[in-house]
């Protein structure tokens, strides 16, 4: 009896060991190993690649790169904004020979990219946000889009379709990029309906699903009938609003599939155009600009197709403004502009244009325009 048992157990262990070895040999390296002839590009996401939000927008860009000939794409998701991203970057560089990296999350930049980039001068690091200055290593690039232009279009559409004129905005943190979106959305709505208001609730972090649902519910309880958001995954807000019969303007990428009835339109990133462009430049050995910004005109952002509830008047006005933005002749933040405390923030005649000259001011915005109900903490 005893020896039988030992034998069986030994066999079992042998089998398990063999299985594990096969799995280790077969599974892991092939998933990561690239052929020498390929140009290897790595994408790192802070969340899941199918989050209907920030990460999905980047993953769509990565998918476009995958279709290019002679390019090998590596992807790693759910990488936290700590030393883990440094390990991911180094393993992509050392083991897979990646020459171009897109560590996409905001918090990857300082200190992680800044620490790794100087060690690998022949590798290019492209980061989505506005932090590069000419004092930093030249192999780091920063790109970003004026996505508030698309939030402005969202506002125009919402201003037309909202019955109560009460709009809601679920926001993560009161940082300039978020405030730009809140303000542009409100200005767009006020262009149509000067009495329109935007209630804003800050949840305090990029991914707070329950709090986002609570915020959305409490705004709808107060008579808001159209919501938009700036959080990592707009999924929860979109689904909550749809269930309550409210309308939604999306963000990051299209959430139309989540809200067939109430989805109006959305502000989307257009990384599917930009990433192949950057990869082509890198393959040819050209220098990607260290500081790259653009809106509709440069094709960095796009608008979701209009939903069923959007009327012809709304479509017409939204399309006109979008055409003007694409032509580069439309200014969103122009004086005289007051904040919601009555203080003048942009004087008559002045403006914050969507061009590199105003980027520093745009990216240090710290006010909420008239019509926004809510307060900036601190």
């Amino acid at each position: 009896m005893g020896s039988d048992f030992t034998l069986n157990r030994r066999r079992l262990l042998q089998g398990a060991a063999a299985g594990a070895t096969v799995a280790a040999l077969a599974g892991l390296p092939t998933a990561r190993r690239a052929y020498a002839a390929d140009f290897t590009v790595g994408f790192i996401y802070v969340g899941p690649h199918d989050d209907f939000g920030y990460n999905q927008a980047h993953a769509q860009g990565a998918a476009a790169v995958k279709k290019m000939a002679g390019v090998k794409v590596l992807e790693e998701e759910n990488v936290p904004e700590d030393v883990a991203v440094e390990k991911s970057m180094e393993s992509m560089i050392q083991q897979d020979g990646a020459k171009l990296l897109f560590p996409t999350s905001f918090g990857y930049f300082d200190p992680h990219i800044l620490k790794i980039a100087p060690k690998y001068a022949d590798v290019r690091f492209e980061h989505a946000a506005g932090l590069w200055t000419d004092k930093l290593p030249k192999n780091i690039g920063s790109y970003f889009g004026y996505i508030f232009e698309a939030q402005f279009i969202n506002g125009i559409v919402a201003g037309h379709t909202s019955k109560s004129g009460k709009l809601g905005f679920v926001a993560a943190k009161p940082i300039p990029q978020v405030l730009q979106n809140i303000n542009a959305f409100t200005l767009g709505a006020k262009l149509v309906n000067p009495k329109a208001t935007t209630q804003v609730i800050f949840t305090g972090d990029w991914s707070m699903p329950v709090k986002e649902a609570e915020a959305c519910n409490s705004m709808i309880d107060q008579g808001v009938d159209t919501v938009t958001m700036h959080v990592d995954s707009p999924k929860v807000v979109t689904q909550t609003a749809e269930k309550r019969g409210a309308m939604t303007c999306g963000y990051h990428c299209s959430q139309a599939a989540l809200a067939p009835a109430g989805y109006l339109t959305g502000a989307e990133w257009n990384w599917t155009d930009l990433y192949p462009k950057f990869v082509t430049m890198a393959m040819k050995g050209e220098m990607i600009p260290n500081f790259y910004r653009g809106g509709f005109k440069e094709g960095l952002i796009k608008q979701s197709p209009y939903g069923a509830k959007v009327g012809d008047a709304a479509k017409k006005q939204a399309d006109e403004v979008k055409a003007a933005l694409s032509a580069g002749t439309y200014l969103i933040f122009k004086g005289p502009l007051k904040d919601n405390k009555g203080k003048e923030v942009i004087a008559a005649g002045a403006s914050l244009s969507q061009s590199n000259e105003s980027d520093v001011q745009l990216e240090s915005m710290h006010f909420l325009v008239e019509g926004v109900l809510g307060d900036l903490p601190g």
Partner: protein
């Protein structure tokens, strides 16, 4: 009036998960065991409740399985602390971390799948009475269940002999042991009850409050439930008050932002913990007060041989 109703209604919804978990933890702590794993057990309940309801289409089965999942998670804690005599604080913290990870793993494929909210009661006529109508006659079954359990726990601990035995075990396990009470078994049952309640509380989040599953969706509610027990100075009647008060803080914080009340939302989110610390300071000032309220053997390891 409409908005006040909305605030009160959402307060009840926001409080119910904390009330369930708090009642469970109260019984656990009354038996002398400090289980800091409430957050992890709630998450297990939330994910299992959501998954079972999604797959089978029966919310009641989902809630039942959530209770079993919470109890199963607490059983691990029970084995470690009661049978293997491991440190309760360390095991409780580990249980929370374990629950966060395991629930994320189990729930991976359920992220983003839609689910209908469990139905709310509607009594024709009564549910339409302004303010109190929807508040009293328009809730879902779990809200009524939470109130019923609160009353039951109160009666159990204060009016029944088994309740007295649980409290005796929590006050002095050596004396209870000497009297012949099975300390380990009683504590194990109390831990299981705590786990089951935390599981139901978690499932309330994923089935009723915000019908969705997302990693770490409890977002600190387990800790608030723990704070609630201390805040109530281990009195069952005050658990209800504490849970509703803390629920009100979470809701008020959203409405305050929207209305523009000049109170920073961060202050309101830390209010439950501040209130708990305040209560702790107040009762700790007098040794007699502490002795009167806190179970004397709370968190202490019981060696049955010694």
């Amino acid at each position: 009036m409409h908005e006040l109703t909305a605030i009160l209604l959402t307060t009840v919804l926001a409080s119910t998960p904390m009330l369930f978990a708090g009642l469970g933890e109260l019984v656990t702590e009354k038996s002398g065991v400090l289980n800091l794993g409430v957050e992890g057990m709630m998450l297990m309940g939330a994910v299992v409740g959501f998954a079972i309801t999604t797959v089978t289409g029966h919310a009641s089965l989902g809630i039942l399985c959530a209770a079993v999942a919470g109890a199963a998670a607490s059983a691990i804690f029970g084995v470690l602390t009661l049978l293997l005599l491991a440190n309760q604080v360390a095991c409780g913290l580990a249980l929370t971390i374990f629950g966060v990870g395991l629930s994320a793993l189990v729930g991976k494929s359920f992220i983003g799948s839609p689910l209908e909210r469990i139905p709310q009661l509607h009594v024709p006529g009564l549910s339409d009475v302004p303010l109190i109508g929807p508040l009293i006659f328009g809730q879902d079954a779990l809200v009524y269940l939470s109130i019923a359990i609160a009353v039951a726990v109160h009666l159990f601990l204060n009016r029944t002999r088994p309740g007295l035995i649980v409290r005796a075990v929590g006050e002095n396990h050596d004396a209870a042991h000497a009297l012949g009470y099975p300390v380990i078994r009683i504590r194990f049952l109390a831990i299981l009850f705590g786990g089951a309640m935390a599981g139901i509380g978690g499932s309330y989040l994923s089935l009723a409050y915000t019908p969705l599953w997302n990693e770490g969706m409890t977002a600190g509610r387990g800790w608030i439930a723990l704070a609630c027990v201390t805040f109530s100075t281990w009195r069952s009647s005050r658990i209800v008050l504490g849970a509703y008060l803390f629920g009100f803080f979470t809701i008020a914080q959203l409405h305050a932002q929207a209305i523009g009340v000049p109170v920073p939302p961060e202050f309101l989110s830390m209010a439950p913990y501040l209130a708990t610390i305040l209560v702790l300071v107040l009762i700790s000032r007098k040794a007699s007060l502490v002795r009167m309220h806190a179970p004397a053997c709370l968190g202490k390891v019981f060696h049955s041989a010694g």
